[in-house]
Symmetry: D2
Subunit: 337 residues, 4 copies
């Protein structure tokens, strides 16, 4: 098989750069196009501090992709709202699109509610929201892929194995913390070093857009209506997400039994690591595509804590996108990762 | 009134140094003795970068205090177990003791359970556990004072105003995070910069010794038996604690009403700041004796989040100890703070 | 004597906030006006987490100061170029001005060269550049005060005692590092946490505007023409400056002798601390008005390293401004500090 | 050719872990033995968060290597003094040794002076100190390799191209800064997060053991006797070294000309990146084997600043060791890097 002729749009943000680094090592990918509206003109070599690049290319404007033929695959790291604006034009390229943004994660109704935008029903149907460990085996190869949000990934992977324990209309507390790269390259004063360093603060408490994303997925895949009570924090670190998920049960829980359920659920998952007798920390997963999960029954014996950690830029974005690509093209799920 | 002839034992740890800085500015205190088993011989001037010290003194060994007469007040920042070992000898000094350690926070039974030590019933009776905002008006002037733990302070101040909402045998989730000075001067590899920086990890999940401290206090003061499900984190920052307290209610909650309860409860408290319409962040309270509290009803409308932040070395230790001293001696509660 | 009726313009930046904290504790100051073009309307209480404020005031627009009579003293923390724009109007207030900005540090010629601005000769003559430890005894009480830059302070204090060792036309290497608050509240991407954390970078190498400021001062006070080769770094910390000053000598140097020269030079300086046998670190001076200096003869025996550390917001800005005020009004130099 | 049967001793320190990560991806290496006196029993999988390991092995005690036959190559990351203690025994294995420690960097005389140890002349002759970009073409394939120190690497790479500009007996100022992993896993209080964070301090000023290492190399390769005046700093970051090298010249310097000398010198070096018109920052090289160099003539026109940055664990240790291995075995110099 020929290598996939692959483009990245929005290539010079934090997610785009991680994607470049992964794809440069992927044996089935020919990374031939990098788009960015800022930084165009700079070279691949200057972007990644890596001398062993075989083919140095220049960053071009995003929409220059429209002039190119035979593009197999487009990873979109475009800012929110940009992909829908140009989707029709992109479709003429007949390339598969993997969107790392939030534009096609929510269904039409939720999108209207959370992002205040109006789009045709049609476009939503062209994207499949895909968490490889959970609905990767149900992939619809004709569709484009909507890559999950970073918080959503860490929380869904923590919740999925105990979905049978969850009641309908249960509300689930998720106390979750993210490093600063989750906000992208930011020029907000509140993201400056002077404001973030040595600090901890919450934001979008109860109103983060990844909550409906999780609720929608849980409903679709596990047929459960739950309420995700998300409390996100900005950590004074660069990368990593830790999500503490609290499940209240009506009867006494057994750690060993729950551990076995997780073990079974993820028996074929190369990128989920379950801990036994210890709890995760961010440094275990930074710079990897691993989701590490620890479980603990709290002292009332009826409250389960699931702690799930990922690298927001890799398992929460670029790495998972490549995992999804691998599935879509029938490669080994961990190829290049 | 003459100034209080005051000593600090264990004066060169992080808490001791904060205490020195506060007491040097306190108009009613004559800080005449600093004890430390390491660092003895060094001078007060070298400890605090402050030229305007009137009287420079040398650090001496802790037990040298026993040779001194007319000590009015001893602040003990000794390591766990040290104060009980020497308590009888200290008592001959007839000084009031304010213990910033954990030796007299739990009652005899809990102490035996959590700290595995056996002591006479008597000694516990000589110490009163005192949170100034809550039982400061019930102070027993004949007793020594046991100063609350840092986590416990942040959590109790968050819980107290809604104690009527709490049911007996309720279990309360507290997702709580602390800076590294909470562990004291540490030579553990896990507290090294290389291990802590850019990391986030939990520790003592469900088994932190401040949980029984909180439970015991809630039971004594509010007659409620609750289970505190504490999940502590080590933050890559030097100082500050943020505690997220989650209360599940059976019926719909009203933020405004709860806010008013908090407002009323803390109407006379100079060191508690309630936020309306925003949530706390650590930088608001670092280097102050303030506890900042924010409240938020989460999207299921039945779960209340109370976020409480303090500086662990000040409101969580040295500052609160001085507040307790002010109460014990009838000074203004914010004198010197 | 009545308290000085004092205003701060540009009061809500990092320097302004430090100044507020210091002046609130100053026994001779009545801080009655806070100006800021952003944040006006907010209260003093909300700016400083300090309950013991006697008089809560609101932040007003900077130019509202013009409507007020009997202002004794104005501290200006206005952005570069703002004070000269309004100086004529301010002069009608007949208040003394202490400028913490860079507008009146350089003489007319250098100002034109470095800041590309043209102003009347006259205005420069109204400001005296004042480093309290060095030319504080030559204060011209009729003039306004131009407060030195943060880097300049640390470097001049390190160089002054050995000015006799410096030859004319000598070029002096200064490898200097600053925390991020030196750049003020910044919305530049390069000052974001994601870009600054875990990083170290140089900037304005050889072209920092504090180099001519130092050269001009050395020339004026010590009659030496030197070239300051400044290499500034941005440190991933919030506050503090460390300046390493390297002096090459033609003959062998004696540490003890140089130490004694420093000791003598600063014998009356309450805010300079000389180290003997050890070298400074930033944590020794953070949150203080101290400049700590260490000296070391390097292994070739002819190169002297002078390491000078300060807190950029205090000794490098607000604290030194208050020191200058104390001198101007004949108060103790460390009053309120 | 068969893969090299390769062992790492001292495999669980920071350098050892980086080495593991690199060697796992090296096509010519069969990493079959990991030694460590602490952590033995743990698995390779648990050490590196990487699921795609083909062969999981257990960490064993370092000296168990002596029971194994046919070991081609040993990387030693043992603590100082350990390798010499056992060298005779290791020699019976007939393996090539690449020492990442400091035991064989200095010659006998300097070793005695700097490390106070006495060893036979012989052992020194068995090791060749090798900086791939500089004396890699003079490799003696019969010898073991002594891998340069991290500071030394950054400084030598900065100095080498202008060695003709350096005079005999010149003393060269090097203001250099390192992240904390340079100190290894540390249990010293001064390396704790609470002491290092938000701080900057110098250490071993003028007496760092990498200074004679550099002097010895410069003398041997370039026949110049120079004095390296090293001023090392501990940075509050995890990894990276920035060395500022200052060269005083008697006549006026031309940046373009010096740039061309550097360009020519490193024309075949894949891992040295010269900057033109900008200066390096640590984030450009972290997690890579690149040394980035910037040059700048300072305002006196006679002082040259060379800024050299590397990742201390990779180009300063594990990466360079693999580069040296590649040269020793005739592989492409960037294989696996």
């Amino acid at each position: 098989m020929n290598k996939l002729k692959t483009a990245i749009l929005g290539a010079t943000g934090y997610t785009g750069l991680e994607l470049i680094k992964i794809l440069l090592n992927h044996p089935q990918v020919d990374l031939f196009f990098l788009g960015a509206n800022s930084n165009h003109g700079s070279t691949l070599k200057s972007l990644v501090s890596n001398r062993s690049i075989k083919k140095n290319i220049r960053v071009r404007r995003n929409l220059e992709i429209l002039n190119i033929k035979n593009v197999d695959l487009i990873f979109s790291c475009l800012p929110h709202g940009e992909l829908p604006k140009h989707l029709r034009k992109f479709k003429k390229l007949n390339s598969k699109i993997i969107d790392l943004g939030g534009d096609y994660r929510l269904n039409k109704k939720m999108n209207a509610l959370w992002y205040k935008n109006k789009r045709s029903e049609e476009s939503y149907k062209e994207f499949q929201y895909l968490i490889p460990e959970i609905n990767g085996d149900k992939i619809n190869s004709k569709k484009n892929i909507s890559n999950p949000g970073c918080y959503a990934t860490s929380i869904i992977l923590g919740l999925a194995p105990i979905n049978t324990m969850i009641n309908n209309s249960q509300s689930i507390i998720v106390d979750t913390k993210s490093g600063t790269t989750g906000a992208g390259r930011s020029s907000k004063v509140e993201h400056s070093f002077s404001e973030t360093d040595e600090n901890l603060s919450t934001y979008k408490v109860g109103v983060h857009q990844h909550a409906p994303e999780i609720e929608q997925f849980i409903k679709k895949i596990f047929k459960k209506r739950v309420k995700i009570l998300m409390v996100p924090h900005l950590l004074p670190i660069k990368r990593g997400i830790m999500s503490n998920i609290y499940i209240k049960n009506s009867s006494i829980l057994h750690e060993e039994k729950i551990y076995r359920e997780f073990k079974k659920f993820y028996s074929n998952s190369k990128f989920v690591r379950l801990l036994k007798g210890s709890m995760p920390s961010l440094q275990n997963v930074q710079n990897t595509n691993i989701c590490e999960i620890g479980i603990k029954i709290l002292p009332d014996k009826k409250t389960l804590l699931i702690t799930s950690v990922i690298d927001n830029l890799i398992k929460g974005a670029a790495g998972q996108a490549v995992q999804n690509m691998n599935i879509a093209y029938g490669f080994d799920s961990n190829l290049g990762l």
